[in-house]
Amino acid sequence: MGALDSSPVTDALGGRSDRPLRWGISLPLVAYVALIVCVLTANVVWLARPHPDTGQSYLASLYANDALRGEIGYALKLSMVSSLISAIIATLLAIPSAYALSRLRVPFRALIDTIVDLPLVIPPLIAGIALLLFFRQSGMGQWIENHLLPVVYTQQGIVVAQFFIASAFAIRAVKAAFDQVNPRFEAVARSLGASGLHAFVTISLPLAKSGVIAGFIMTWARAIGEFAPIMMVAGSTPGKTNVLPISAFLNMSAGNVEAAIAIVVLMVAIAAGTLVLFKQLGGQGYIW
């Protein structure tokens, strides 16, 4: 619904005598932001340092390396495509799921709630192992692999791993949004003649819009950063399943720290850009 900003009291600490208090409160925020900025700057500066023999900056030499550029370019595309797909599927599934959790009298609600949150809490590597085991060692998983969709060591495996870990974010955010929508709105809509579905689509969903968008963003952000489960389930095959974090790992393992750091900087830039874009589209959210 959005906060009512018609209240005149928006800055309770606006007076002159409050200045020291304002500074005190802002200090942790400033420190945290400064930390992030300093870490990122240090990485960029290190990359830009010149090579002791050639004098060219490492950054430039990385860029000149066609093979590396190709690899990272591919990783970028793969990361974006897979994470967007994961986030879209997760959000689509989250909408009815969150509505059920929020509004319907679901049996064993507490248990279901806990299970939904599990993938968030399990360490990603463990989740990856568990997924791999499921798809290759269990009857149901094997049936899926053989008759529905091959998952292990495929590109679809990337989406499956990302979805498994990150979709809980979507459900949580959308549920929080629905919790905040007064159920009476739907009741009134229905009394005016709307069917349950129509009331949901025209009333509840638009009112929960910012939660849906927040859920999408968080899921996407988590999905694009996934590493261990993707390595376990999809493998880390350059040119096929190397998403950006895996590319960073591969380069680190080959001693090419510069390439890994370049990927770090690249991911930060993408994340920043995409976050800004999504926020423009979504307005205020429940987490932001």
Partner: protein, 295 residues
């Protein structure tokens, strides 16, 4: 505002349809592990030129540290035989777990013999060959500021030493062995040790990033850092060297192709590529001391 109740169920149906389509198209393409998000990207010039034979592809679990020679070998192999080798570069422990659980794949090259031994013990290996060796050397920062010339110099005060974690990686395990053979008490070395590392590349990165001053490292991995570090070789011993073994997995559905890959790697072309990437092929003739003649 028009009646838009149909949007959500339609979106939903589209989403589900999309998933099925993505899955469905995979069934139609030849071969099981297909690419439905993006087409595969060729990894080198030679690979780009070759046309893969439909359905022929070998899956290789490979240690991350031996990526460079393996990728080159794969490209050449594909060019010559039309069989594509698809590697996945993971930590070796990870690969072992994957082999156990996925029960899928053709080849295993852990890069640390220890893991190969474990795989053999579990009965996963059909046949194996040694294709190269890891020989330990001392790796120091560029310029060798502490003037380290031999193993005992690692005990010099003020030298920050990094070691591989003996339980996590072979280099760590072999470092312990080396110290025993050289009769250097582990505790004495321990006074200079600042950190343990889980893998050999991490150890190398630590030297490069100047987090440690020196470490004992595998020769070919140290060779990755020749821009930022220096190698101080010492006497090579069979006991302290690790064989790099390639094994054909019992779960392979194409054991013949896998065997031919094995032979290729062992053969002159494979060996030439290993040498090019500073791998020791013969314990009599280690990579270091580097005399600049190899290529």
């Amino acid at each position: 505002m028009p009646n838009r109740a149909w949007i959500v169920p339609t979106l939903f149906a589209c989403g589900v349809l999309g998933i099925l389509l993505v899955g469905g198209c995979c069934r139609l393409l030849p071969g099981a592990d297909q690419t439905c998000l993006l087409p595969t990207a060729p990894q080198s010039a030679t690979e780009a030129q070759s046309a893969p034979a439909a359905g022929q592809s070998l899956f290789l679990y490979c240690g991350a540290g031996i990526r460079k020679p393996v990728e080159e070998i794969n490209a050449l192999f594909e060019q010559q035989t039309g069989v594509r080798v698809e590697p996945t570069f993971t930590g070796s422990g990870c690969a072992l777990a994957q082999i156990e659980m996925a029960q899928k794949g053709d080849l295993f090259m852990p890069g640390e013999d220890w893991f190969m031994e474990q795989a053999v013990e579990r009965g996963r290996i059909l046949e194996r060959r040694t294709v190269a060796y890891f020989v330990p050397v001392i790796m120091v920062q560029r310029g060798n500021p502490h003037g380290i010339q031999e193993l005992d110099d690692l005990l010099k005060p003020g030298v920050r030493v990094g070691v591989g974690e003996p339980k996590a990686c072979a280099i760590g395990h072999f470092t312990v062995k080396l110290m025993e053979l050289e009769k250097i008490p582990w505790d004495e070395l321990g006074r200079n040790v600042v950190a343990h590392f889980a893998t050999a590349p991490e150890l190398g990165n630590a030297v490069k990033l100047k987090a440690v001053d020196a470490c004992i490292q595998w020769d070919s991995i140290a060779a990755l850092y020749l821009d930022d570090a220096e190698v101080v070789p010492f006497a090579v011993d069979e006991e302290t060297s690790s064989a790099i073994t390639l094994g054909v997995l019992k779960t392979s559905k194409q054991p013949e192709s896998a065997r031919s890959y094995l032979q290729f790697m062992e053969g002159p072309e494979g060996q030439r590529i290993f040498r090019k990437h500073h791998f020791t092929l013969d314990l009599e003739d280690p990579t270091f001391p580097w005399d600049g003649e190899r290529d």
